[in-house]
Amino acid sequence: MKQSKLDLAGLPAKAAGEIDDRLQVSSPLRRLLNKVFPDHWSFLLGEIALYSFIVLLLTGTFLTLWFDPSSNEVTYHGPYTPLQGIPMSRAYESALQLSFEVRGGLIMRQMHHWAALLFMAAIVVHMLRVFFTGAFRKPRELNWIIGVLLFWLGFVEGFAGYSLPDDALSGTGLRIASAIMLSIPVIGSWVTTSLFGGEFPGHEILGRLYIAHVLLVPAILLGLIAAHMGLLVKQKHTQWPGPGRSNDNVVGIRMFPGFAAKAGGFFMIVFGVIALLGGLFQINPIWLFGPYEAAVVSAASQPDWYVMFLDGSTRLMPPWEARFPLWPGHHYTLPPLFWPTVVLPGVLTMLPLFYPFIEARKFKSKASHHLLQRPRDVPTRTALGAMALAFYIVLLISGGNDVIADKFDISLNAMTWAGRVGLLVLPPLAYWITYRACLGLQQHDREVLAHGVETGIIKRLPNGAFVEVHQPLAPVDEHGHPAALPYAGWVVPKKMNRVGALVPTIKGFFFPIEEPAKPAYPSEAPVSPAPTREGITSGKQ
């Protein structure tokens, strides 16, 4: 028998068939490829975090090839003149070598650091989206909890990375971390000595931080991210309410090819933005800080932004020492550092972790929710979120208060007191303002549903009164009154062009990507053109 000619066109299908015969992947794969993603910009925020994490893995792996987390003392003889002949740790030397001698090392370091900042920024913004739209409600509480853990792990991972190069700034950070751990009652000194392998700084900490930074924490992060995504696929996306969308379906585009193409492109763009930041903006210029020495502390020593709120809480904390008498002649002193850096983060971890359950209890809701809520429709939650955000932002700003004081010519003491007062006053104020704003927006929605869209056309009644003409959204009955429309939980059109008064805006972000549609009835716009009027004059002519 003669061998038939190789069928090139049929090859992929045949190969896929052979693979499926052995691995039985086609039906789960089909399910995955057919997974539907709703199309809304706010669903892409989490993806930014995912893509920055991938960039972190890639650039971080590059850095590990040259970085040496050793605290052995060496003398620098590299190309950076201001440090020549200076004794330093091998870790710092290798970070300098990465910056000045390894080809592409500096941009990799900078991309790694910018990606870390972006990772945390995206996590926080993503978290805000999830919170304010109620996407954390049953059945998605577990994914919310994973998200909170991801934030704190990212925090730890970033702090560990920041401490690795062993420059004076990261040393300052580590010293503060050791002081924080020491402030924990009873177990504090034990925790510190076991972590640092003795007194701060010791010789152990760099190696331990390194293992944590490049292996342990990334592995846990990766596992949690996988669980996060897995749950997302299993539980399906939430979506905004809208035509054809219900609690039981998901409307959007399929994973393949539509979403995959978009996501692939988006990854490239995030990668590109990080590369641009890494190439254009200098970050963490460790060569300026010098090697870590106990005597060196600089003005304007700050941690990265995601740690800054804890620095802020420390700066705002008044120096109150709590003294507990133990037995006559002895007392235990609780350092003030304990409250803003141990208790506060504890509360800030626990509250969000349990928030979904607290809220469900409060709202007496046991049902599963797959439709998102507009923030205005749940004023209590939105106002609570605004309150938390105000609290956080005051702390964040206070973390940089010395730089702000210096650059804007404000007294540092004034900044500290403004922070203290602001921390107590602004959150309740934010709550109240947000609550009122939500109610106002709700009311306006209902008004438009009942009376129609404001047209901007003013009519004068025979009795001389002026009224604005409204365009009803629902069909009108025989008396000209529009039928009552229920609120559907989604955007109520409030401008005439949203109900077709004008030709719909043409799609396209930078330039039109479609031909403007020809109006069906050339001059029959829902609002007839204004009658030609005679010019209004002052009457003098």
Binding site: D39, H40, W41, F43, L44, L45, I48, P82, Q84, I86, S99, F100, Q110, W114, L117, L118, A121, V125, A168, W240, K262, F266, I269, V270, V273, L277, L280, F281, Q282, I283, P285, L288, F289, G290, E293, V296, V297, S298, A299, A300, S301, Q302, P303, D304, W305, M308, L396, G400, D402, V403, I404, A405, D406, I410, S411, L412, N413, A414, V491, F509
Partner: protein, 284 residues
């Protein structure tokens, strides 16, 4: 206040050394010893008297007007512009300005060359650097006048005070001694109650040297026994090197550290990516 510091740095050690010189361990006869004791006493008196006249308050100096030519010119300028606050003989005016006796020419040159002096009338939290009213030469003349009145630390000659300085050593000294106020970046930072350590960008070699010698306002004095003249040159070399150093990593964000980095990641990074999300996914 600086008077005591500088006198401690320059005066007594020299006298003490001289004392040791005379008390050599040589065996002598009783008469010789008496004679020596007498001579020693006499000499000691002369030395003490000399020191006294050298450090005596200005009124004495005015009685014996043997000011150098530069100092005389300086005195004229001083009487015009400074005497209202610092008093006609630089002895200070209560509640207005401190005495300048013993501050040395370095302090005067620093204050005048950086435009801090003459101070503006209404007092702010801190006398700030401004456009100087006098030329460098005039500042030196006033410096000479104050120097001859009361002594004190002086600047070395020349304008290039970084020559022979070791940048790396200077960097180390800068980070230990100066960065706590002026920041790693030499850009300055906030102190308490609206006071601040200024950026070192505009400072010349002489001004940096003089600032260390005189410790203006809230800055401590770094006398020659704390930071030797050679180390001062090292520090100056480092500060001036940093000014010329370009940021190898791109735009340096003013070298203000993580605060501007936080602004960039949100205002540049997040905002640009949010625009992309709107472009990709739309709003409905």
């Amino acid at each position: 206040m600086t008077f005591d510091d500088s006198a401690g740095a320059a005066g007594p050690p020299r006298a003490a050394r001289r004392g040791r010189l005379f008390a050599g361990p040589v065996r002598r006869s009783r008469l010789q010893r008496r004679l020596f004791a007498g001579v020693r006493l006499l000499l000691a008196l002369v030395v003490v008297g000399g020191i006294y006249t050298a450090f005596a308050p200005g009124s004495q100096a005015e009685d014996t007007p043997k000011l150098s030519e530069a100092a005389q010119l300086g005195k004229r300028l001083y009487d015009q512009s400074c005497a209202t606050c610092h008093g006609p003989n630089a002895q200070g005016v209560k509640d207005r300005a401190p005495s300048l006796i013993g501050v040395g020419s370095a302090d005067v040159e620093f204050q005048v060359e950086t435009g801090r002096m003459p101070a503006a009338r209404p007092q702010q939290a801190q006398v700030e650097r401004k456009q100087p009213l006098f030329t460098v030469e005039q500042a030196q003349q006033m410096g000479a006048y104050i120097q001859e009145l009361g002594g004190g630390p002086q600047l070395p000659a020349g304008t290039n005070l970084r020559e022979g300085g070791d940048i790396a050593k200077g960097g180390q000294l800068f980070r230990v001694n100066c960065a706590s106020c002026h920041a790693f970046s030499t850009n300055g930072g906030a102190l308490s109650s609206g006071k601040y350590a200024p950026s070192l960008k505009p400072a010349t070699d002489r001004e940096i040297y003089a600032a260390m010698l005189s410790g203006p306002q809230n800055m401590p004095v770094f006398g020659d026994n704390q930071i030797t003249p050679q180390e001062k040159r090292d520090i100056i070399a480092y500060i001036q090197y940093q000014k010329g150093d370009q940021d190898p990593g791109g735009f340096g964000l003013g070298r203000y550290g993580p605060v501007p980095e936080a602004l960039v990641i949100f205002l540049v990074g997040m905002v640009s990516i949010m625009f992309v999300t709107l472009w990709i996914a739309g709003k409905s």
